[in-house]
Symmetry: none
């Protein structure tokens, strides 16, 4: 019965899109927005999804506005005929649409820049409610907006449906407005402070066992665990009248957790493993090259998600065939014959080869059986070998875990490579 | 407006659970149930989620029952105090709860068998609406049930929240009841047939403009468009009494669409571009190697998602630095100096280099500015150059589109590479 907190803003989320009702896409927008609104201390009362149907969107708005101070909608802001969120919200909040000439100009300019002609239906995206505050969309063609009812007690915020645009607009434009709104309406409301710790290499049940008394014994801060592929995340949260109190309580709990499972924690700020590893490499100026087989470039693709990594990342040789392993990395034919392509011996020669041809400080390699086929009794699907070569020598690792999915087996392999680098770069 | 089909059953789904409103779990139940209901030919009108709050569950039920013939709820059937779905549904449909002695005995027996003592609150799970039809739960302790209103025109089906129990009960117990209900209410129940066409290289608004009369002029089959990064998907659906009629109508519409925008369609069966390209390469026995800069291995990682691709994919040289481009691919220093690393000239030498060192039929390359930094006036962020080399020569492509996100710019680049291969392999 967590949800009754009269001192906080009450919110509802409405998703507009027939494709959600058809079960064709999972409604990730709503999960994400719920997390954000809860972080801000809002009580989320309802999620609704409706199709491209004005009558039912109106019903959902009415039910939501009855109890909620704040309603966020996603979807239905596009250029096509079935996009009708703006019209319905306008009517519900007693406003009308006007052409926003600034946005229209921006749309024309963007089309011109890309050498395309703007079609007529795109003009519709520049229509906005006359009293609304526009949320300037730098990553898409439909702006969002915030509109209050004439009394100013109910606020509706409309965001586009594509998750990339929605999350960007929320973070960059809407969140500050909501924070202001909450401060105005709720004054000294209670504050939720949460931190996310991320671990690799320890299972969820082992983690829970290690922390059982801390999880059971506490009502505030709370500890929740979430499992992902090979990773486990801990959310430590406190809700107090005073932000400082909440922060202190969370810090104290983190210190206890760190004492017990510190070795596995790679981030205390909800960062991805690759971000932590990338930063460490750049800080230390350690150059790195990779030799990949079963991951087929996923390691390099992951590492190059980190902006600025080109300062230390030189190349990855994706050697899918044995021929390529020999030609690009100098893996010996005898090694491949005697131990097979999936072996610690081959992984070792691949890592050392990557380091040699590139002249990098670190060479990292991976070779394995991602599945669904290709497993044997000795080397079942999910058998993956790794090596990390430095001037001090080469270390190997072998994991055997079939998640049941080729792609997850490959993701798990990349995480192991990153974990090896994290541990090597920690010294 | 695609969703009005009065000859089918109208359905809504209500999820009960504060943890969903907190954003702690993704509501997979609703996606799954939506797919099932659409398969049965139902029109899904609403998804609602409410917390453990009787008043708001009542509101959601009222809104749903207004338009829907059928409402399915998940969650809130458990033994604890905050589980209140049964009570609320009973009240809404003018019924009362009675102890089901059969289920109570089963619960006692199950506890005994496991050597545990049944706690008092578990008795609550044996309470069922007096007029309801129980859905016997063999995989959990809360039974589901089906209850109609006194007039028999509205039906509410309550299922437990845990996905494993929910899906089991639906498949084993509820689905046959729904099929019966649909046959009764809708007579010769209608059948929905849908196909998904996928396109690359044409924007959603251009697509709609090209097909406007087809979209506007038709109530069946319907055409809906969905946009993703660089891609656009068309869903063509028909709902008829006879499956064959529905299939024919969809095929006929696809032929019309193909005539207008056939060049951009890469799949008529909702396949990913990489699957189409991978199959084509394997069918023709065309070997391929890649040279990647800004995508950092994403192309190879994507292509190696295709099982069996090792038969034609040899290697990818992820040459992030200029040094690596020269050493691994033989790109000339003068080319890099004169035109820069991001240029069609460099892309050309990379693709030709990849083809030369690997001896593959096709060499494909990419070099660009993925952002967020690194753009110039001449070459803004989002400038990406590609080349594809075969024995017949080399073709280049250049795109300039900043999605606002490094990762999406890179995904767009990979799609362009795949599109170039698709077009080259089509001949």
């Amino acid at each position: 019965m967590k949800e009754e907190r009269p001192e906080s803003l009450r919110a509802s989320i409405i998703s507009v899109g027939t494709e959600i009702l058809m079960g064709e896409i999972t409604n990730t927008n709503t999960v994400w927005l719920s997390q954000r609104l809860n972080e801000l201390g809002c009580d989320v009362l309802y999620h609704h999804t409706v199709g491209d149907n004005p009558g039912r969107l109106t019903h959902a708005l009415e039910v939501s506005l009855k109890d909620s101070d704040l309603v966020i909608t996603t979807g239905g802001l596009g250029p096509t005929q079935d996009d009708m969120t703006k019209e319905v919200v306008c009517q519900a909040l007693e406003d009308h649409l006007e052409m926003n000439e600034d946005w229209l100009r921006i749309l024309y300019e963007r089309y011109e820049k890309r050498g395309r002609k703007m079609t007529d239906n795109n003009r519709k995206q520049a229509l906005l409610p006359s009293r609304s505050r526009m949320l300037f969309n730098e990553v898409g063609s439909a702006p969002g907006f915030v509109l209050s009812d004439p009394s100013g007690s109910k606020t509706v915020c409309c965001l586009p449906g594509p998750p990339r645009e929605m999350t960007w607009l929320y973070r960059e434009k809407l969140e500050p407005i909501l924070q202001e709104l909450i401060a105005q309406r709720c004054g000294g409301a209670s504050v939720l402070h949460a931190r996310i710790l991320r671990t690799f290499g320890i299972g969820e049940s082992s983690l829970e066992t290690a922390l059982l008394d801390l999880i059971d014994g506490q009502t505030d801060p709370t500890i929740a665990t979430y499992a992902k592929t090979g990773e486990c995340t801990l959310r430590i949260a406190s809700k107090r009248a005073d932000r400082r109190d909440a922060e202190d309580a969370v810090e104290e709990m983190i210190a206890k957790v760190r004492e017990r499972i510190g070795e596995y924690i790679y981030s205390e700020n909800d960062e991805e493993l690759v971000q932590v590893v990338g930063r460490k490499l750049m800080e230390k100026g350690l150059t790195i090259s990779a030799a990949e087989s079963c991951t087929g470039g996923m390691f390099a693709a992951k590492l190059t998600e980190v902006p600025g990594i080109s300062a230390v990342f030189d190349r990855s040789l994706v050697t899918y065939s044995n021929q390529a392993k020999m030609e690009e990395l100098g893996v010996r034919e005898e090694t491949l014959k005697e131990f097979g392509a999936v072996s610690e011996e081959t992984a070792r020669e691949m890592a050392e080869g990557a380091r040699r041809v590139s002249g990098s400080d670190i060479g990292i390699s991976v070779t394995g059986i991602a599945g669904p086929d290709g497993g044997t009794e000795d080397k079942p699907v999910g058998t993956i070998c790794y090596a990390l070569a430095t001037e001090e020598g080469t270390v190997c690792r072998k994991t055997v875990w079939d998640t049941g999915f080729r792609q997850f087996n490959r993701i798990y392999a990349v995480l192991n490579m990153l974990d090896m680098i994290r541990r090597a770069a920690a010294n």
